[in-house]
């Protein structure tokens, strides 16, 4: 391990000191002792100095020891380390566009969506309360990815993080797909992984909107309303991302009853939504598009640049009762799915 160490005398001094050093998101962190960091590295069979990824624009090389330290500090259990590692690899991959999503004024948050056996083995919330607090796995895995962003990627507010308001989801945002609660094909299988694989999908997003619709009675009506809502914001064309533009739609159980009950698969939903989402902006005559930002009075709906229907990623999650689904808008990055190199099925 190449990380330097600091010493603190007394537990209170330790807790305060780690925050004063600028290592924390503002909340207390778990002490990353060298022994604890080594324990986390052992789980993934890596040496501390092994490279996980780079941000060339920042001259930054992220090593396994940075990821392990962040996971310890976030409060992860050792068995979460492979998940944090996979999510970090996705974030640092070219399509993760890490410098862009970390320095943006929009305060894009690094969402982690989990599929496969890892969810049940680690107790990841997928149904009720999936987006919020209540599970150590959800809370600390999402937090660890953000501590990697802060400490390893140097995304510190006022320095390498330029978020104008930032976002509470930047403390942590991790949830799993409710694979058991739907007959739909899980997202990771749709993206080419085996059903028994555990997969972390890292999605840097700017905003999310919810559709609360208890009126629709059929799939077409529901999805037409959903598309109308989703088009409140654009998904802009970006030559760097090319055809790999993605948007994530999360359907709650009440809406899944309408869609699945009518026999609609994820592929059916995509086929219906794609032309609606990608239709041109609707705006009044004479108005000019300026990077998808609407001048006063319009556009009333903004187009989603999604060259392929497969760019619409559909996830089943959330609890019963409320007629609620979500659109998670991308920043200038693609959702990147990474296999978690650990056997959670055994």
């Amino acid at each position: 391990m190449t990380l330097s160490t600091k010493t603190f005398t007394g537990y209170g001094a330790l807790l305060d000191g780690m925050i004063e050093q600028g290592w924390s998101d503002g909340l207390p962190v778990v002490p990353a002792t060298p022994r604890k960091v080594e324990e986390f590295l052992d789980v993934v069979g890596m040496k501390g100095e092994e490279i996980v990824g780079e941000i060339l624009s920042r001259d930054i090389t992220v090593r396994a020891e940075h990821v392990a330290a962040a996971a310890v500090m976030a409060g992860c259990l050792p068995e979460y380390m492979p998940v944090v590692l996979a999510a970090t690899r996705g974030h640092l991959s070219p399509l993760g566009n890490a410098h862009c999503v970390l320095a943006t004024l929009t305060g894009a948050l690094q969402t982690v969506i989990l599929n496969g056996p890892v969810r049940t083995q680690l107790g990841v919330l997928c149904g009720e309360g999936a987006f919020g607090p209540g599970s150590r796995a959800n809370a600390t895995i999402g937090r660890a990815v953000r501590l990697v962003a802060r400490n390893a990627c140097q995304s510190v507010p006022g320095d390498g993080d330029r978020a104008a308001f930032s976002h509470p989801g930047r403390y942590s945002f991790c949830f799993g797909e409710d694979e058991e609660g739907t007959p739909w094909t899980p997202m990771h299988v749709e993206r080419g992984f085996a059903a028994g694989d555990s997969v972390a999908t890292q999605h840097s997003m700017t905003d999310y909107f919810s559709l609360c619709d208890g009126d629709s009675r059929g799939p077409q009506e529901l999805l037409t309303r959903f598309a109308h809502l989703a088009r409140c914001r654009p998904v802009s064309r970006d030559a760097f991302l090319g055809r790999d533009r993605t948007v994530v739609l999360v359907f709650g159980p009440e809406h899944r009853r309408i869609l699945g009950g009518a026999g609609w698969s994820k592929a059916d939903i995509r086929a219906f939504l794609h032309p609606l989402l990608t239709a041109p902006h609707t705006r009044t005559e004479g108005q000019q598009e300026t990077q998808g930002m609407a001048p006063l009075g319009g556009p009333t709906e903004s187009s989603h640049y999604l060259p392929d229907p497969e760019g619409i990623l559909i996830v089943a999650a959330g609890g019963a009762g409320l007629n609620l689904s979500w659109v998670l808008y991308p920043h200038l990055a693609s959702a990147v799915s990474t296999r978690i190199d650990h056997d959670y099925a055994g």
Partner: protein
């Protein structure tokens, strides 16, 4: 040690790792620490212009090119439009600039990530021995400072667009012209060495 023991601890010495890359992860690279030599004049020069497409940067580019040619005798512009606001130019586009440009201008630093990358583009051109100047909005000075720190070029100079021009570069043609009037002497001052 249990949580209760930890909380009661006053004299225990704890050793923890520094989780940052500031020392351990930052790439150690041998690069020039000084700016590239400045030009004697812009007359007859070939200027590389790296545009990230931010806001109305195309208007800024058009106006800038016209004034550089008309007022300063620049003979050719190598026009590079980046594929996204906050990424490096492609290798092919980078080579178009580094193969032939006498100097370069990078635009426009109007958001958090693109301002940093605009500065970085210019710094990397300096490493290629090409005098360069990045144009950012004054609201993005902190982002520029962060990138200069990361690039170990803390003293590198940028040219700033001032308020009331909006940071996101959504400007009219008139606003753009006013911005150019203000910027041009500073741009030229950064690319051409002072006389005397």
């Amino acid at each position: 040690m249990s949580s209760a023991q930890l909380l009661a601890s006053r004299d225990e010495v704890f050793e923890v790792v520094d989780p940052r890359t500031s020392e351990s992860g930052q790439k150690a690279t041998a690069r020039p620490t000084k700016d590239a030599p400045r030009l004697g004049t812009l007359a007859g020069a070939v200027i590389g212009l790296i545009d990230n497409g931010m806001g109305s940067s195309s208007l800024l580019k058009e106006a800038l090119v016209a004034r550089l040619k008309d007022d300063y005798g620049v003979t050719e512009i190598i026009d590079v439009r980046k594929t996204s606001v906050s990424v490096a130019p492609t290798k092919e586009d980078w080579a178009r600039i580094t193969d032939r440009a006498d100097a370069a201008i990078t635009i426009f630093g109007g958001c958090g990530s693109c301002s940093a990358r605009t500065v970085r583009d210019a710094i990397e051109l300096e490493w290629e021995n090409i005098p360069a100047v990045p144009i950012i909005h004054e609201a993005m000075a902190g982002s520029a400072a962060a990138m200069k720190r990361m690039s170990k070029a803390q003293d590198y100079q940028v040219v700033e667009v001032k308020y009331p021009a909006r940071p996101t570069a959504i400007w009219s043609a008139e606003e753009t012209a006013a911005v150019i009037d203000d910027l041009l002497p500073q741009i030229v001052g950064r690319l051409v060495r002072a006389r005397g």
